[in-house]
Amino acid sequence: MRHSKEAGMTLIVKTVTRLTVGLILLYGIYIIFNGHLSPGGGFAGGVIMALSFINIMLAFGKEAALKKFNLSSAQLLASAGALIFLLLAMIGFIDGHFFSNFFFKNKLPFDLLSEGNIPIYEVAISLIVGGGLFAIFVALVIEHKADKHSD
């Protein structure tokens, strides 16, 4: 029985979330940076990074999550990721073709920095997907003040 109305879920969930949210974010970053060596890449890593913020929102309530990362900064991050992606694709024009892959070509394969500018593409994609997914989630749970009835 609760005596006062608190935002979010019970104490057990809040404690576990405080311990594990940083690890989830780190795991997402690991998947992004190893996207060209093992399964994963920008899409999956971006979704996991967004999920860590959504986890904070579910466990602690809306206001706590929105203080860390609000709607307009999520939209700005997604647009910035898209601009970086397009800029990288256009840099390929220097080598002659759109989307050409020409940095770092002389390193060894299976290294972290090996496949040209593909890791930078993965980072840009993760910004777009992560920022976009979080922005969608926040936009769906924000209540419209004009249509709210009593209470």
């Binding site: 910035a80 601009l83 397009l86 024009f93 002659g96 073709h97 050409s100």
Partner: protein
């Protein structure tokens, strides 16, 4: 050669820049959007001009430097150049119109972002040479259009957008299923490579199944008759520039262009598919025009007429003869021009007096002379009165029907034309002629930006009849030849890849 990817880069860059910086400054969305559309129009006319001087009239661009079929290729031939000019001309006019019109809605930067994304998707469908790339750009354009139909967030717009989105994603799933079947049979996704593999391997039972899947999927995007249920709800509910874009450009590129490219160039046309297309085209003509006569909502009437005119285009393309395809493509160009002009006129009326119901309007010619004049030009074009452009394209389609021994379909086309004339005489009488309704004494003409785009489209209506004559008809004849000699597509593309 390097300007081919610019057709996709420019609208994408404009969309991302507007979404990044558009909410901070009032004028940035307008300036970026309109300059991007003007740049696209200039590039498409330049590309159509440069294509004449190249032997074979075809250009292939390898994305990333990878040789097709390992990489994605972008192919520009005469049909592509024709579609690019049509799309970008109409898009620029609509972008100029929406500078003033969209001040009635909030968040203009969101509108311009979605609009630029839709143009990027439409241009991408036109220039791509790879089947899955076509599917990705088709989805980009479709999802932007679902969001744009719901832009005003009133209750009717939400209902129309939901219906359109559900039917559109079912159609996209059918298209993806067809692509999966084709990939499993030919193990390649490049259109030219698939054409040569299919020509070698011969007939198999997979091909009619895939043809029906594509007919269902692209037929829904083109609003052919059994699949037209979403159009009368979606097109009136969108804001007026978006209705013009959807009716004038989107259903043509995503539906008619993709259908003819895949059926004529990749799969190889056979006579059963041609007879299905002719039958569905004739059915669309009749159903559209019979349902349009009883409408009192101006935009809903125009939406039903879109169904009918697309029936003419599919009838022309389905005939398979050079004259028929010429007539079909010419009518596609004409319909883009006059249908978008009609929707922009209805938007101007809505901007001035705030209603779309024909029974409430009356005698607007006294207060809005330019709108009335351009509406008269567009109505005479769509009804097929000489010397406007609609007359020439309908005449060529009717002659092509008679020449191909389908005299019954020619008769149906004539009946459709007469009924179109009847319903547009009704629009003219109720909206513009007659006594000025007392409520609209204070109505004024719309601002200059909106007038400019309507006047330019009206001028193109008057002048475009010249395309049927020899010096200018080469533009259309080259485009029609790409479809008539559909089997040479693979050889031409391999010849142009360096």
């Amino acid at each position: 050669m390097n300007i081919i990817p610019l057709f996709v880069i420019i609208p994408l860059a404009a969309a991302f820049l507007i979404s990044f910086a558009g909410r901070f400054a009032k004028r940035i969305p307008d300036i970026l959007g309109n300059s991007a559309c003007f740049a696209l129009l200039f590039l498409s006319i330049y590309m159509a001009n440069a294509l004449y001087k190249i032997p074979g009239h075809i250009l292939v661009y390898k994305v990333g430097g990878w040789i097709p079929p390992i990489g994605i290729s972008m192919v520009v031939d005469s049909l592509t150049a024709f579609m690019l000019v049509t799309v970008n001309l109409v898009a620029f006019m609509i972008a100029v119109f929406s500078i003033e019109y969209m001040t009635k809605y909030t968040d203009k930067w969101k509108f311009y972002t979605l609009f630029m994304l839709m143009i990027a998707g439409i241009n991408g469908v036109t220039i791509t040479g790879d089947l899955f790339n076509l599917f990705v750009f088709l989805e980009i354009a479709s999802i932007s259009s679902y969001a744009l139909v719901a832009f005003g967030t009133e209750s009717e717009e939400m209902e129309a957008s939901f219906k359109y989105a559900v039917m559109g994603s079912v159609a996209s799933s059918f298209i993806l299923l067809g692509i999966a079947f084709l990939y499993s049979w030919t193990s390649t996704l490049n259109m030219a490579d698939m054409a040569s593999v299919l020509a070698e391997k011969g007939y198999t039972r997979t091909l009619p199944f895939v043809s029906v899947l594509f007919l269902m999927g692209f037929g829904l995007k083109a609003a052919l008759v059994p699949f037209h249920g979403w159009l009368p709800d979606a097109h009136p509910s969108a804001p007026a520039p978006i209705s013009a874009m959807l009716s004038g450009v989107l259903i043509k590129v995503l539906g008619v262009y993709a259908l003819s490219r895949i059926f004529y160039n990749v799969l190889g046309m056979d006579s059963r598919i041609l007879s299905i297309l002719i039958f569905l085209g004739a059915l669309s003509m009749l159903v559209g025009v019979f349902l349009a006569i009883g409408q009192w909502d101006l935009k809903r009437l125009l939406a039903y007429h879109s169904i009918s005119q697309i029936g003419y285009v599919i009838l022309g393309i389905g005939l398979g003869t050079p004259l028929g395809i010429f007539g079909g493509l010419f009518h596609l160009f004409n319909h883009s021009i006059f249908k978008s002009l009609l929707f922009l006129n209805s938007g101007a009326i809505d901007y001035s007096i705030g209603t779309r119901n024909l029974q409430e309007m009356g005698g607007l010619r006294a207060r809005m002379p330019v709108t009335a004049a351009t509406n008269l030009i567009a109505s005479m074009s769509i009804a097929g009165i000489p010397p406007f452009n609609g007359f020439f394209s309908k005449l060529i389609i009717i002659l092509a029907c008679v020449q191909a021994h389908h005299a019954g379909y020619a008769f149906i086309a004539v009946i459709g034309s007469i009924l179109t004339l009847a319903s547009f005489m009704k629009v003219q009488r109720y909206a513009f002629f007659g006594v000025l309704n007392k409520k609209w004494e204070a109505a004024k003409e719309v601002p200059v930006g909106m007038l400019a785009s309507m006047i330019v489209l009206g001028l193109v209506c008057i002048v475009a009849g010249l395309f049927a004559l020899p010096p200018f008809s080469a533009f259309l004849t080259n485009a029609a030849n790409v479809l008539v000699n559909g089997k040479d597509y693979a050889a031409l593309v391999w010849g142009a890849v360096k």
